[in-house]
Amino acid sequence: MGGTCLDSTPEAPIHSRFASTMKEMNFHPARFLAQSIRLALATAFVLILSFSSQNLCAQDWFKTETSSGVSNIRIAVADFKAVSAADPQTVPLKRTFDTTLYSDLANAGIFDIVSKSLLPQTSPGAPAEINLAQWGAAPTSAAMVAFGALGVSGGRITASGFLFDAKNTQFPQVLAKQYSEDANEEMARQIAHRFADEIIFRLGGGVPGIAETKIYYIKMGGGNKEIWAMDYDGANQHEVTHLGTVSISPRISPDNSRIAFSSLGREGFQIRMYSLLLNRAVNFPSAGGTNLSPAWSPNGRDIAFSSSRSGDPEIWIADSNGGGFHRVTSFRGPDVSPVFNPKTGSQIAWISGRTGLPQLYIMDTDGSAVTRMTDGGYATSPSWSPNGQFLAFAWDRKYGPGAPGGQDLYVMEVATKRWIQLTHDIGRCDFPSWSPDGRHIVFANTPGGRAASTRIVSMLADGTGRRSLTEAGADMPNWSWK
């Protein structure tokens, strides 16, 4: 990749799908769903690196897509119909549900969502009440319509949700779901997430949605750092650990049962383990030295981490209880931040300072086939995409004294080492973490330059759709595996 310029030839013309509105849809309604799923399967979650043919080196801005060639499905999300307006909880809970459902679908990255101002006035609560032709016609022009009814009675919230194909007059129903839960804000959000995930699963190529996933992160306060958790959309932020020290690098296990992290104690930083089932820290033996940056293997059996127990910080692998540890790397210089290939579990990407400034490397889990991926600058914090094809990482390509430079997020295709830049001019970016569907990346952004201004931001994997999930004071996000 010599220098700072991509020397590859243009692969495809720039697509401006994310910016443009939906083109005229002259497909056959009956075949629409199957066709879209087939297309999505063929191309979904593969970042097509689409390079402009002109002048790449000059500005380093180029367009990427999450599903090139497939039009986003235009979906209308009706406010649900209130069933029992008598209960005072109905109105606020329905508002929460409506807002959450709309937000989940709008942020899914696979829809062209119809603005609520373009929807028909009526809120259909059941299949018999919907005039599909009206929803399919301009200005709504929806291909899919999500609607339903929600009511609260006797402390229970009951919702029935439907997804209809607006162009299929004969058999429009794609999905029908019923939910019944305790009537509170949290459950109103949860059932909206579940319904959204059902829709995304049906229309998004059979890949489960992420509306029910969690993000674990670090919250700074009073000189300490504790581990916190939140829903994928930033709601429900709550503290997990109460250790009163500096804890960093939370990594959730693939089965969501344990958090591995590194915590400062009398003997320096050590790997620690917190059980979300027992709600307390559980034993993880330490064997001396500084122990950092744990990473779970995709089967949850092994943990790779950086340890200086033999002197120099190297990558080690232990089983998830801390036993059977063995060293994987052996080269002078810091080795840190390992991450397994989540698809195969047989490769590790990590950061090594063996040649000076930290660079991104990959190797097999037995330490063989070491390959350097970056050609310079200061690269840190790798995250491997769920399909195993891409590495997201933080990179300051002009790092050095007197060159403050920007640390931005990049995605590299492992097979070709070709990369694209995801963030531009928003301040320091670090700690990218892929969502389980591979369509999103959450990361830490420091807009003010000072550590205290760091917050957690999520975006689509092509760098669009950026939104803040937390206030300042949050760092090191880690997206759950499911």
């Binding site: 500084t290 931040s337 670090d430």
Partner: protein
């Protein structure tokens, strides 16, 4: 004291006379003779003094003040040791330099009553032993001879000035073999947190290696990396970053 003793005797005499009178004038109780040890005579006219003494708070740090509060009854003279004669009821703020028992004596026609309260003063234990304690050497001498080592950015190699520092430190440490030390590895705020912790480990290890090479036993040295988690200086300029890029020595206690 003589005055109050005289008063006491007088009061006692009056009381004795009163008792004797009541006996003579036909009290039918079979009172024994007065037992002086009990201070038993309880003439209605002269009740014994009562006294209470409290301190708030009961425990303070050195330099803080305590409010003493006392209440007495039937006392004509109230004294507190170390303060002197005080009103029958009152408060006073005191700042004792060490833990003190405040002793109040209330004397009245009915006798003498005492009250005590203890104020605990927490005198901070000096974090360093200022005197030279044999082989350990003093904290000041330690820092004079064992100086922090600073590093170039993103480097854990010892610079020439650091080599000199390490030699001086090793000489001192070899002469004071009882000293154990902790080397903390620190980085400036730039760069990524996880990598900086590994780099800080390498910095502290470099310093340790230099000392070990110069003859200091490795078992005396403990290494902890703080990366950029504990910033020494928080401004965003090179001089501040340089202060943060260091291996810091401290005595391991």
């Amino acid at each position: 004291m003589n005055v109050s003793q005289a008063r006491y005797r007088r009061a006692f005499a009056i009381a004795a006379v009163a008792v004797a009178l009541s006996a003579v004038t036909g009290c039918h109780k079979k009172d024994k003779a007065v037992d002086p040890s009990t201070l038993g005579p309880m003439p209605a006219a002269t009740a014994a003094p009562t006294a209470t003494l409290t301190a708030d708070p009961a425990a303070v740090d050195l330099g803080q003040s305590v409010v003493l509060n006392w209440r007495t009854q039937n006392a004509s003279v109230v004294t507190i040791d170390g303060i002197g004669e005080v009103p029958a009821n009152g408060t006073q703020t005191v700042s004792p330099s060490s833990s003190t028992n405040f002793h109040l004596t209330a004397k009245g026609d009915g006798g003498t009553t005492e009250a005590n309260v203890r104020v605990t003063v927490r005198v901070p234990v000096a974090p360093t032993v200022p005197t030279d304690t044999g082989d350990m050497g003093s904290e000041a001498a330690f820092h004079q001879n064992v100086q922090d080592i600073f590093f170039d950015y993103d480097s854990y190699d010892l610079r020439p000035d650091a080599q000199t520092n390490a030699q001086t430190a090793a000489t001192y440490l070899n002469a004071h073999s009882a000293i154990k030390l902790v080397i903390g590895g620190y980085c400036d705020e730039r760069g990524s947190a996880e990598y900086n912790l590994a780099l800080g480990e390498n910095r502290a290890n470099s310093a340790k290696t230099a000392l070990v090479t110069a003859g200091v036993a490795a078992s005396r040295i403990r290494v902890i990396s703080y990366g950029k988690e504990k910033q020494f200086c928080t401004e965003q300029n090179e001089s501040c970053w340089q202060q943060n890029r260091r291996a810091q020595f401290s005595m391991d206690r």
